[in-house]
């Protein structure tokens, strides 16, 4: 990952599929935005999306801890 040629291709591939403010404006009024991270700003998404008011991305990241705990408790106990 990270090679320039690959990045160029990715930018072309993601044309029209970037989740940004414009796309999110079409979301249901109560809809939320999630992203598993890491984010590559300008490629599949934008700062506006990840750090905007529809975003639950960082709650989502925190929930990695609580679900990991639930899995480990369930499997290892």
């Amino acid at each position: 990952m990270g090679q320039e040629a690959e990045r160029e291709k990715r930018l072309r591939d993601f044309q029209g599929f970037q989740v940004n403010g414009e796309l999110l404006s079409l979301l249901h009024p109560e809809g939320v935005f999630l992203h598993c991270l890491p984010a590559h700003y300008g490629e599949e998404t934008t700062e506006e999306a990840v750090h905007g008011e529809r975003s639950r991305v960082f709650d989502q990241a925190e929930n990695r801890l609580h679900t990991a705990k639930a899995v480990l408790l369930t499997l290892l106990k």
């Binding site: 990241a61 990695r64 106990k77």
Partner: protein, 265 residues
């Protein structure tokens, strides 16, 4: 505890916030040994996992349930969230994690997967592995008698899917009937979301630039069928609708969310 085969299911049905976290962890006799993907997991297991995660979060849980237990973390690829949350989770439960860097272990190169498994099961109570090939974590699970958790493979990322579900459940008060749009790279994260969706009543629509995913399973997904043409999202307007650039029709009413991700990590 209880003599086998008596199981505290009735108690669990009426479990409230006050019910001990340790007893919410489920029945040792029926749960799957591993979490490689969601095969072997049904709606009941998903509900139990999510309820437990919610309770753990609400109570900012710290306990000694896994005191003295050790989880081996075997990572072929970099990680921030997965490694950190698995280590912290073990600490919060009274246990410990040992991180094994692939450069040191050389699984499949320095030493065959089977041998690694048959060694680790003697040292630790569980293994979490982030691997390039899903076959590697499957082999670990097959040869190690301890639980194996897939911390991401080319085919699946079940831990991420669980966190996604918990977040949606929190945002909307439940999962049944929710509609999620996946926009972007079709990948391991999408695979797991598609796999788990029917188990919790989630509906997933997919829009990917091209056939980037190894396998797209699950009948709950709507995917464009042509692998060669750029895929328009399912809600994109027909050619007769005037557009400038990719214009997106209003999604039909109902709670919805959108998720995206980039190429496999």
């Amino acid at each position: 505890m209880y003599p086998i085969p008596f199981r505290p299911r009735l108690l669990h049905k009426f479990a409230t916030l006050r019910y001990p976290i340790s007893l919410m962890a489920g029945d040792a006799l029926t749960r799957p040994k591993d979490l490689l993907d969601f095969s072997g997991y049904g709606p009941k297991e998903l509900r139990a996992l999510l309820d437990l995660a919610e309770a753990l979060k609400r109570e900012r849980y710290r306990g000694e349930d896994l005191k003295g237990r050790v989880l081996a973390l075997l990572f072929e690829k970099p990680s921030l969230r997965t490694r950190t949350t698995l280590e912290v989770a073990m600490l919060h439960l009274g246990g410990h994690a040992v991180y094994l860097d692939q450069k040191q272990v050389g699984i499949g190169e320095r030493e065959p997967v089977r041998d690694v498994a048959k060694n680790l099961e003697r040292f630790v109570e569980g293994i979490a592995a982030r691997v390039f090939r899903h076959e590697t974590v499957e082999a670990l699970a097959r040869h190690a008698r301890v639980p194996v958790v897939n911390a991401l493979s080319d085919r699946a990322h079940p831990l991420q899917a669980l966190a996604d579900l918990l977040t949606l459940k929190e945002a909307f008060g439940g999962l049944e009937g929710l509609e999620v749009a996946w926009v972007g790279d079709g990948n391991n994260v999408l695979n797991s979301l598609l796999e788990v969706a029917p188990l919790v009543g989630l509906r997933v629509r997919v829009a990917t630039p091209q056939a980037t995913s190894p396998t797209l399973a699950s009948s709950s997904a709507q995917t464009p069928t042509s692998p060669t043409t750029p895929r328009r999202p399912p809600w994109a307007p027909t050619p007769s609708t005037p557009t400038s650039g990719p214009a997106w029709a209003r999604r039909r009413k109902g709670r919805s969310a959108s998720g995206t991700s980039r190429a496999s990590r």
